[in-house]
């Protein structure tokens, strides 16, 4: 399909386990965002990439969270030593341009639902 694809759709992890969440943005999209959505809440910003450059990671909750986009397309969000409070839906979004004064809508994936037991 032409949309943003995320995998896995669901992930169950034991506390302390490391997890890796994958995002395939729409082909050619420059900007890529990760958001965290707790149950019943709105998405909260985690980090932003413009091509392969991570321009903003101010939303990452701790140093256990790490994101990369080495070739400017696919991105991976890694969470080390998962904790129960990490349980949430992790959403990826992309947009064609590089931000700045250009405002355009984000295209979201369906997310990865992470449950930490």
């Amino acid at each position: 399909g032409a949309g943003v694809s995320q995998s896995p759709r669901y992930k169950v992890a034991k506390r302390g386990q490391d997890v890796a969440l994958r995002c395939d943005p729409i082909s050619g999209h420059v900007s890529l965002f990760w958001y965290q959505q707790a149950l019943g809440q709105g998405p909260e910003f985690l980090t932003y990439f413009q091509n392969e450059a991570q321009l903003d990671k101010s939303g990452l909750p701790s140093d256990r969270f790490f994101a990369e986009r080495p070739e400017g397309s696919v991105s991976t969000l890694k969470i080390q030593r998962t904790q129960q409070e990490d349980s949430a839906v992790y959403l990826c979004a992309s947009s064609p341009a590089g931000g700045g004064v250009v405002r355009e809508k984000l295209f979201f994936g369906s997310g990865t639902q992470l449950s930490v037991l």
């Binding site: 019943g40 709105g42 998405p43 910003f45 959403l91 947009s95 931000g99 355009e104 809508k105």
Partner: protein, 114 residues
């Protein structure tokens, strides 16, 4: 702190009626606003946006109104249909180094009764 929020967490309407979902924002630096619809198990889907130099924008069956004086945003859905049942989020954007980074409100659940 400054945030985007919603007045009503749940709105129940009869099919065919008009729906109005409200949102308050407190950051006067916000200059771009978006409404998203999120169905169960899916990511947010763009509905309509509005820039701060406008006070009204219309789409297909939807209208967004922006009142900068009282920092209020609303989404109007005409002739609400069962397929409109979802959670609706308003989001704000400030032009910053993070480009299109959005700050979302807490959401309103719209329930359409047949």
């Amino acid at each position: 702190g400054e945030s985007v929020g919603l007045h009503l967490p749940t709105l129940s309407v009869q099919e065919g009626d008009n729906s109005i979902i409200n949102c308050a924002y407190s950051n006067s630096a916000s200059d771009y606003f978006i409404w998203y619809k999120q169905e169960s198990g899916k990511g947010p889907q763009f509905i309509i946006d509005i820039r701060s130099n406008m006070d009204k924008r219309q789409g297909q069956r939807v209208t967004v109104l922006l009142n900068k004086t009282v920092k209020h945003l609303s989404l109007q859905i005409a002739a609400t249909q069962p397929g409109d049942s979802a959670v609706y989020f308003c989001a704000e954007n400030r032009n910053n180094n993070a480009g299109n980074m959005l700050t979302f409100g807490g959401g309103t659940r719209l329930m359409v009764k047949p």
